[in-house]
């Protein structure tokens, strides 16, 4: 088991955003978390990455309790995330962003005198080619299209050398072509790099297209968890969420 949460709960004042969620994510899985708006998906993500501290419950990564570990330490352990609101570096070039992630993951960012550009040339190009951004290597963040920003985001995330990758709405705001390309990419990453991917998504086509396992949150609670077919068949899920979509 790569990641496990036990009875994970988060209150914001009187609102219980995440309510006792116990969930297991297996190594190498592409695992979707779905649910209507306000179901607690983002908060659940934030508890795993360390942005929020849970009210109660535990987060366990590779058998180690990390419930109260700060984000940057979790990142070093191999948990990393992309952001729903694309939140990148407007004045850095695409190349520099990925380089930075690699420098950080290899632990040489404290070096103040060597030349950053001399490091990891092959690795940076490899990642940029993987996500299809090699052409834009010299373009600055603020000049990228929305879809490219998302891909850059993913490339930066890959640079940190993650084992568990959390993607928050990876295809949000993308055109159908971009969405298709992103799905292919996510599957490729899981297969070729052996990454475990946990993602939220509102596009059911994407979810049922690539997820091997689906967990459904509703009002902060886990109401279904299993193979796509089983989740699709669940009456409760039909009732609260999928409606006529599936």
């Amino acid at each position: 088991m790569l990641l496990e949460t036990r009875g994970l709960t988060k209150d914001f004042g009187r609102l219980r955003a995440v309510n006792s969620v116990s969930l297991e994510v297996s190594q190498g899985d592409v695992h979707a978390i779905i649910g209507p708006n306000g179901a607690g998906k983002s908060t659940y993500f934030n508890l795993i990455t360390g942005y929020h501290v849970p009210t109660s419950g535990e987060v366990i990564f590779k058998g180690r309790r990390i419930t109260r570990l700060p984000s940057h330490k979790r990142c070093k352990l191999g948990i990393t995330r992309s952001f729903q609101i694309t939140s990148v570096f407007p004045k850095l070039t695409v190349y520099e962003g990925v380089l930075l992630a690699l420098l950080s993951s290899k632990g040489i960012t404290l070096n103040p005198l060597s030349r950053a550009m001399n490091y990891f040339k092959d690795e940076v190009w490899h990642i940029l080619e993987d996500v299809g951004l090699a052409e834009q290597a010299r373009v600055r963040g603020d000049s990228l299209s929305h879809g490219d920003k998302k891909r850059w985001e993913l490339a930066i995330t890959l640079g940190t050398g993650p084992e568990l990758l959390l993607l928050d709405e990876p295809t949000c705001g993308m055109s159908p072509e971009e969405t298709e390309a992103t799905m292919v990419l996510i599957q490729k990453l899981a297969e070729e790099r052996g990454l475990t991917i946990l993602f939220t998504e509102h596009d059911m086509g994407v979810v049922f297209g690539i997820a091997k396992r689906i967990s459904v949150l509703h009002q902060g609670m886990l109401i279904a968890d299993g193979e796509p077919q089983a989740v699709r068949a669940s009456e409760e899920v039909q009732k609260v969420y999928l409606g006529g979509v599936a």
Binding site: T49, P70, S71, H72, K73, C75, K76, T80, R81, F83, S87, V88, F89, P90, K91, L92, E96, L99, L100, A101, L103, S104, S105, I108, T109, L110, N111, P112, L113, S114, R115, A116, M117, Y119, E135, G141, S143, I156, G159, T160
Partner: protein, 323 residues
């Protein structure tokens, strides 16, 4: 490759030649002004490591500048200490106080960071100002002489020039290092940077100490150059100088603070020759730059160049994207 390097660095070579020949061309008065501009440029570059590169506005940077100056002045006048070791001590004292002050400041961002640095700066100013027995209070310290070999203005000028060149080289290395990239990333997006596995506070503290030590070096150079120090060297007004110079020259470029400092220092010296209302002229000047050259003089020029090269590049890029 060789020619490409020359194409990029011709103006650096030009600047070095001008710097070396200057004492034989300009009057002694303007040589003093040039020395002052070089020292203040080190100060402004140190400030811009925090402002332009890390994205935090320090409004108490003069405290470290002043501490560097006071350390040298007190060691030289009270203990007749070795000149070179006094300079090192000036850097160390500024750096150590920077470590303490920075520890508290780096927990904050934006205006809160600025205000806290201002508060610490003023606190140190008041201590030096009021502690008459130890620091000389508002009298300051006079008779701070460099060693015999550096007493002539021209030799002290060359000494400043060497230290300036070394500081520029060192800072250039730092901002292009892995550490420098972390600073830029924190400026752009601290939250995202943390998710790259970066402990923000730790890196900001390191940069803060570097900037404090370098400001201390500038102050340490200043005291024997001007033969004295005074409490106002630590005051917020002095902290405002690198801020203005950097905004004038352009905080997004490496040499922006130097350009701004040179402009300010020489304008000051020139205008003071016929009027005491130099702040009015300086103020108008800054207004003009902010409205006509957003990003500062060098910043504006760089952005224009970038746009031009981007436009020149786009047609090819488009061809590849076209279906």
């Amino acid at each position: 490759m060789q020619a490409g390097w020359l194409k990029q660095a011709w103006w650096l070579i030009l600047a070095a030649v001008v710097g070396i020949l200057a004492p034989h061309i300009i009057s002694e008065f303007y040589l003093m002004i040039l020395g002052e501009a070089l020292i203040m440029s080190i100060f402004a570059l140190a400030f811009n490591l925090l402002f332009g590169y890390m994205g935090q506005l320090s409004f108490g940077q003069a405290a470290f500048y002043g501490l560097g100056g006071y350390t040298v002045a007190m060691l030289l006048t009270k203990l007749q200490f070795n000149f070179w070791l006094s300079l090192v001590a000036g850097i160390l004292v500024a750096g150590i106080v920077g470590l303490i002050v920075g520890y508290f400041c780096v927990k904050l961002r934006g205006i809160y960071f600025a205000i806290l640095t201002l508060a610490f700066g003023q606190l140190l100013f008041v201590i030096i100002y009021k502690w008459h027995d130890f620091t000389g209070g508002d009298d300051g310290i006079q008779g701070v002489f460099p060693p015999e070999a550096l007493k002539a203005p021209i030799s002290y000028y060359y000494f400043i020039l060497i230290v300036f060149a070394a500081s520029v080289y060192l800072l250039w290395k730092v901002v292009n290092s892995p550490f420098g990239y972390v600073l830029k990333a924190m400026r752009e997006n601290p939250e995202r940077t943390e998710f790259l596995g970066i402990n923000i506070a730790r890196y900001q503290l390191m940069a803060f100490v570097m900037a404090a030590a370098l400001s201390g070096l500038a102050g340490a150079l200043w005291a024997p150059f001007y033969r004295s120090v005074a409490p106002f060297h630590l005051m917020w007004v002095k902290s405002g100088e690198p801020v203005m110079a950097t905004i004038l020259g352009g905080s997004t470029t490496f040499f922006g603070p130097v350009v701004g400092t040179f402009l300010m220092t020489f304008l000051h010296a020139y205008v003071l020759g016929f009027t005491y209302f130099w702040p009015v002229i300086m103020g108008s000047f800054i207004l003009v730059v902010i409205f006509l050259l957003p990003g500062g003089i060098l910043g504006f020029a760089q952005e224009k160049l970038r746009e031009r090269s981007f436009k020149a590049m786009t047609p090819e890029g488009r061809d590849q994207d076209a279906p």
